[in-house]
Amino acid sequence: MSEKKNAARLICPAPLPVRDRVVLGHGSGGKLSADLFASIFLPALRNPALAKLNDQAIITAAGARLAFTTDTFVVKPLLFPGGDIGSLAVHGTINDLAVGGACPLCLSAAFVIEEGLPLDLLRQLVNSLAAAAQAAGTAVVTGDTKVVERGSCDRLFINTSGIGVVADGVDLSCEYARPGDRILLNGFIGDHGIAVLGEREGLEFESAIQSDSAALHTLTAVLLAAASHQQTDATVPGPIRCMRDPTRGGLASALNEIAAAAGVGAQLEEAAIPVREAVRGACELLGLDPLYVANEGKLIAIVAPEAAAAVLQAMQSHPLARDARDIGCITAEHPGVVTLRTTLGTRRMVEMLSGDQLPRIC
């Protein structure tokens, strides 16, 4: 009580801001997003599959285990180096299925189009979406189109949902992560976020950075095959505990989510995390941390220590994982918290971002 009184005498303002509206930060994939989900969506929609908080839900029906996922794509600009909203919409949903251990079966695609969008642009984006689906061996089997008044949506939003099949013996969930497990990453982080930022007005820079937008299901198949070779018995979990694709909120947010869900800690090695020089340059300039920048062709796999080397080697044979690395481990220390051993050998926390990371001058 006396502490409160003392504090009140000091000159410093700022009562808590009132939170009665959705702010952009609620969509950033960080703490605010998690809070929104926990306070509004989860209580209302409560069910065991949703409560697992994985990127996809695994449902058993008619004797098969199906993975089901949905994602909405609102990326701006619509076209960016290395991709566009069309191909992104396919890759993103396929990846959410793939990291659940599922083989993608089919997709739906729903378009919300702003009045005035040029038809040529729409055609280009839909063709790109179709091509991405075909390249991934899936098809868009159903969909929807809506047109809204000018100003009601930002040019084009696309929602894709996907169904996949999970083979027998595959059971992945982030709650299976346990101390000692290794954390594997398939390559360079931050490419997508920086590629998109580079195209935005104002933050223009010339760069050769391409989005890493890609479908990861053939890579996850390689990981699962390598793991099953390593598996000595049929107990669950297998050597691959879980996989995650670190999209909004970056590597840091994805690992924080895993740590929280499994009640374990994670320790990363900064020197092991690959970041392209140009991405690092852009981050330095804008005051951004690559750990929080979005990726669209990356996955993290939490793997049993005895299988990690073999799984990593198998990954590196795949074109989307030539630069795969072991970037750290799961630990019993500091449950729910992710730490990083810096290049100087000291340790620091890797917090969950609260909202969007904003460029800074300070």
Binding site: G198, E204, F205, E206, A271, R276, G281, G345, I361, C362
Partner: protein, 83 residues
């Protein structure tokens, strides 16, 4: 305060009333205003804050500092941890 980053001035590009440069920061290139560093030439490094170069890097001083570091590192001996 004051996030400012060193980059290499690749080329000076004159605008209608202003002086801009193409500056490279480890692989990305950005247009930067050079109004405050009139003496900067292509090949120089400049320190950039909020889209403006605020100083030209003195390469000799930078070398001097790095040499000092090298001496300290050598003096500390072989028992420093490996990177």
């Amino acid at each position: 305060m004051c996030l400012a980053v060193p980059g290499e001035l690749l080329e000076i590009v004159s605008g209608d009333a202003s002086c801009e440069g193409r500056v490279e920061f480890g692989g990305i290139i950005k247009r930067v205003r050079l109004d405050f560093v009139p003496e900067a030439q292509p090949g120089d490094f400049v320190i950039v804050h909020a889209g403006f170069a605020i100083s030209r890097m003195d390469a000799r001083e930078a070398q001097r500092t790095l040499q000092l570091f090298a001496q300290l590192e050598a003096a500390a001996g072989p028992d420093l941890e490996q990177p």
